[in-house]
């Protein structure tokens, strides 16, 4: 068994060094889909989460509980929802995005969004209300206050994005259902691994697994660097 793992690693390295075209295509597709999904869900989810976290209103606890539940929404069920909504049976059948990479982005976006919103909202629990007052008294408008809060909670917010990216890139069930695992078109690293496992090609599947780990690792290195960089994160210096 140990020799199988070793030969899988060697196979993975070989595929990378020789720039195997199909593996490259699958890897780039996976990264592109997940990164776009996470970026979009962060752009929408962070402000939404911060706003929810700060606001005080009736039913806030209920809404936050709902979002927390949504964070753990079973991805394969999400895939099923989207599949039905965009299929012949559903209201959006005419849109025709099933079996395309667009629907992959959509489904990963929907899985990432509650994670980002939920974690962003919870960062606000730790933020001093006096900080908001200080920002206001220094002259900040609504948008500037938001940016300052994001700046203060930057580490936690990045952690939310990193968590969401992890969830997105490792997703297999939902992606299989809505994308169809079409070779060269909607096949991601995860569904490719699934295909190789069902064909009994475990060594190759594991090699793909190592490539997936490596790709995710590199993205996380970059995100973690951003998370901790000391720049003011604001215009001009």
């Amino acid at each position: 068994m140990a020799s199988d793992i070793l030969s899988s690693i060697i196979q993975a390295i070989t595929l990378i060094i020789t720039l195997d075209p199909e593996v490259m295509q699958i890897t780039l597709l996976s990264l592109r889909v997940s990164l776009i999904a996470v970026i979009l869900s962060s752009l929408i989810g962070i402000p939404t989460g911060i706003y929810l976290g700060l606001l005080r209103f009736r039913g806030k606890t209920f809404l936050l509980t709902f979002i927390n539940t949504a964070m753990a929404f079973p991805p394969v069920v999400m895939g099923l929802f989207i599949f039905i909504l965009f299929s012949e049976y559903g209201p959006f059948g005419q849109v025709g995005i099933l079996l395309t990479d667009t629907v992959l982005i959509l489904v990963q976006f929907l899985l990432a969004l509650p994670i980002i919103i939920g974690l962003s909202a919870s960062t606000m629990a730790n933020v001093d209300s006096k900080l908001v007052e200080t920002a206001t008294t220094l002259g900040a408008n609504q948008k500037q206050r938001f940016i300052l809060l994001i700046r203060e909670a930057r580490i936690e917010l990045f952690a939310a994005a990193i968590a969401a990216f992890g969830a997105a890139i490792s997703e297999i069930g939902a992606v299989q259902i809505v994308g169809g695992n079409i070779r060269f078109k909607t096949r991601t690293l995860t569904t490719a691994i699934g295909r190789e496992i069902s064909a009994g090609r475990w060594e190759f599947a594991l090699a793909l697994g190592f490539i997936l780990l490596l790709a995710a690792f590199l993205v996380n290195v970059f995100l973690t660097y951003l998370q901790h960089s000391k720049r003011i994160f604001w215009r001009s210096d």
Binding site: L131, T134, A140, W234
Partner: protein
């Protein structure tokens, strides 16, 4: 020429969901170029009064008349030439316990300048830092600073923006004498420029007598007396004031 900067007439503030106001029947003027002290027992509403002056509190929960530079700010007038948000830019409130953004001393100062779109003029900032004995700590992360240093950073951050009114909530509470001396010196210096004003809440009667031109006494949610500091402390007009000043008040 001395002008009235802020006028409060019959002002109340009642927090959300409460029947009792925290401060009531407040009649108070603030003039240009003066340091106004605010003294009173803990829980009497000093912070609320200061935040009301700073226009930081919910305007819908604030009753009464607020004028800035003779213009009515509260209650809000539809179509007023200057909106509350703009007036508020002239007032900066500093919390009792220093509130800082993540980063260095310099980054905190820059945040204020960036918010207001003001230029970052190095020698001005350095000069102010020197006044507050912070020049050596310019690039230090605020996490590593002491309470006194943090409070001084907050003051620099506010003063560099040159607000017309600086509103300080017990700024030297818990600080050692050298910090106190440095801060008081800089406050006095501040009002000399452009006839700015300072409101300073304090527990320290000596401090009030040292630096405040006039002093207001806030007891049990109301201002019981306002007057020239020296006269107030030597011969207060109100019996409640006298009891408070001599420590006879039981509260």
């Amino acid at each position: 020429m001395v002008t009235s900067i802020i006028e409060l007439k019959d002002v109340n503030f009642t927090p959300e969901g409460s029947i009792e106001p925290i401060i009531k029947n407040i009649n108070l003027d603030l003039y240009s170029g003066e340091i106004l002290g605010v003294i009173g027992p803990s829980g009497s509403g000093k912070t609320t009064l200061l935040k009301t002056l700073a226009l930081l509190l919910d305007k819908n929960l604030t009753k009464g008349l607020y004028k800035y530079n003779k213009m009515q700010v509260l209650p809000e007038i539809n179509g007023a030439t200057s909106k509350l948000v703009d007036i508020r830019k002239n007032l900066i409130y500093i919390h009792q316990h220093p509130v800082l953004f993540k980063g260095s001393v310099l980054q905190n100062i820059k945040i204020g300048l960036n918010i207001r779109g003001m230029d970052f003029i190095k020698h001005q900032i350095d000069s102010l830092l020197r006044d507050f004995r912070l020049i050596k700590l310019k690039n230090r992360d605020v996490k590593s600073l002491s309470g006194g240093e943090l409070q001084r950073v907050c003051l620099v951050r506010a003063m560099i923006l040159k607000p017309q009114v600086l509103i300080l909530d017990e700024p030297t509470q818990n600080l050692d004498p050298s910090n106190v001396e440095n801060i008081e010196k800089n406050i006095i210096q501040y009002i000399k420029s452009d006839s700015a004003s300072v409101v300073i809440a304090t527990h320290n009667f000596f401090q009030a007598q040292r630096i405040a031109h006039r002093t207001a006494v806030l007891i049990n949610r109301e201002i019981v007396e306002v007057g020239k500091t020296k006269e107030l402390f030597t011969s207060p007009k109100n019996v409640i004031t006298r009891e408070f000043l001599t420590g006879k008040m039981v509260y």
